[in-house]
């Protein structure tokens, strides 16, 4: 390559540049796709393996001990949709913790993005959009495996995919807001210990919350995972009520929106100084 051609290529403004051929948030989402190229094999394998392991051990194995119907259905049917929602929560939470910290502190990817035409909104929306894509992958695989286990009893079950995605985002958005305000990753173990793990165990995934002590039931009902689990369960079981569904959806959409506003504020504070 001679310098004359380089001179031509570099001098002056780039006439070929056009604005807006793909939305800015799509451009920032592409970064996460490039990253995923490295790890997709392991990630997809995990997405298949976990539902098979959980449904086999708890649904078929432990479930064979549960002789009475739970919530009107056999235990496997009760458990599976709850696990789908719980898995969405975990994926949404994970993807909004370490990757956000890495993009701020360890790899500083967000700062690289902000040195280009992208803005803080593009950076945040692009990352959440990528998390939504990951949730789409995970919940679709989960539903397919549930079908293979014979626990899908309604065409409405397909809606468990968007509801699972929404459940994941309802966690991802506020957790991203938290992560962007952290100086290091020690706070994340608290999120697991006092957030994700208790919710996983007590939000109605493994047993109906009516079995909890009376004073704990409203607490469980106030958690986002409860709404994701309940809605997924009614869709997969084919016994969905309109009013109940609207309440669950409203809660999850509201939390996602609130999380987004908080995350945008937290991102601005951290990234634009």
């Amino acid at each position: 390559m001679t310098m004359t051609t380089r001179a031509g290529a570099l001098a002056g403004s780039d006439r070929a540049r056009r604005f807006g051929s793909s939305p800015p948030w799509v451009r920032s989402m592409r970064y996460w796709m490039y990253q995923y190229k490295r790890t997709w094999r392991g990630s997809i394998t995990t997405s298949f393996l976990y539902p098979v392991l959980y449904l086999t051990a708890l649904g078929l194995g432990f479930g064979s001990l549960v002789k009475t119907p739970v919530g009107g259905v056999r235990y496997l049917d009760f458990l599976a949709p709850g696990l789908l929602a719980s898995t969405a929560m975990q994926i949404g939470g994970n993807e909004a913790m370490y990757p956000v910290m890495a993009a701020i502190k360890w790899l500083r990817t967000y700062f690289a993005m902000l040195a280009t035409p992208l803005t803080v909104v593009d950076v945040l929306v692009g990352h959440l959009a990528w998390i939504a894509v990951r949730l789409l992958m995970v919940t679709s695989i989960y539903l397919a495996i549930m079908a293979a286990f014979g626990t899908v009893h309604s065409f409405l079950a397909i809606l468990a995919i968007p509801v699972g995605m929404l459940t994941g985002l309802a966690f991802a958005a506020p957790i991203a807001a938290f992560a962007a305000a952290q100086q290091n990753d020690t706070g994340f173990s608290a999120i697991y210990r006092f957030g994700l793990i208790p919710l996983f165990l007590f939000s109605g995934t493994f047993f109906p919350i009516t079995l909890l002590p009376g004073w704990l039931q409203p607490v469980a009902q106030a958690t986002p995972l409860y709404h994701g689990v309940a809605l997924c369960r009614s869709l997969v079981g084919g016994h969905v009520g309109l009013a109940g569904a609207a309440a669950h959806l409203g809660y999850l959409v509201g939390l996602t929106a609130l999380g987004f506003v908080l995350a945008l504020r937290s991102y601005r504070r951290r990234l634009v100084t």
Partner: protein
Amino acid sequence: MVARRLTKRFGDFVAVDAIDLEIGRGESYGLLGPNGAGKTSTMRMIACMSPVSGGTLRVLGMDPAHDGSRIRSRIGIVPQEDTLDLELTVLDNLMVYGRYFDLPRRVIRERAEQLLDFTQLSDRAHDKVDPLSGGMKRRLTIARSLISNPEILILDEPTTGLDPQARHLLWDRLYRLKQQGVTQVITTHYMDEAEQLCDRLAVMDNGRFAAEGSPSELIAQYSTREVLELRFRDPDTDTEAVATAVGALAERFEALPDRLLLYTDDGEATLTEAHRLGVRPDSALVRRSTLEDVFLRLTGRSLVD
């Protein structure tokens, strides 16, 4: 690029204190100054990455407060700390970055090939970034900043921490870019770098411009043509006392623990005079004044942080 009374505040702390700045198309402009002088804050405002707290700023005729995105699409930024993705390959780093600018894949691939050639990284194109040397990473950051064919290149300490070979390669590349008409704004701690690369420069101290001009103008204005260094091996030598004796021979003098610096236009003549006055240094050195002398005069010798 024009700034009037440009100011940056962080809470009560004033990082950049009402500076005036004008940089023309195709010019290479340097910002020198000790750590904490406000160089990086100035650069981040110019790069439209940091909001202005006061004064006005126009870059490429636009206001960063409203057209930050449009301005950034026409400038290339080399930040002080690399923001490369260590787990991606060299080529993928360029691809991802080019896509932020919405450039088509084909265009990025063509430019990436040229830029990797330009920065001598072609044979590492498919390697991960993590194991590359500091110099290679820095070159990749520069290649990346050029992927959008920027009209302005903003370089924050481009060669800090590099070995001499890597520095000279980078200087050569930056010089070529300058010849191609790319405007450059550079911060550096290295005076030789500033002298090599910059048409004009400003010495910053405490958020203000202590001086501004071409390297030769600054030397002419703030130093003398030559410097006579008288060195004394005996640690008990009272250089202050010697200075009192011969200080009048020079335009300005500086007494350091083991040395006496005499700023004069004719070092040899001053040395002869000093000998005549009975000063017997262990060694004497006559050298030309450099930007370093200007820098130390303007910002002092004591450590800032």
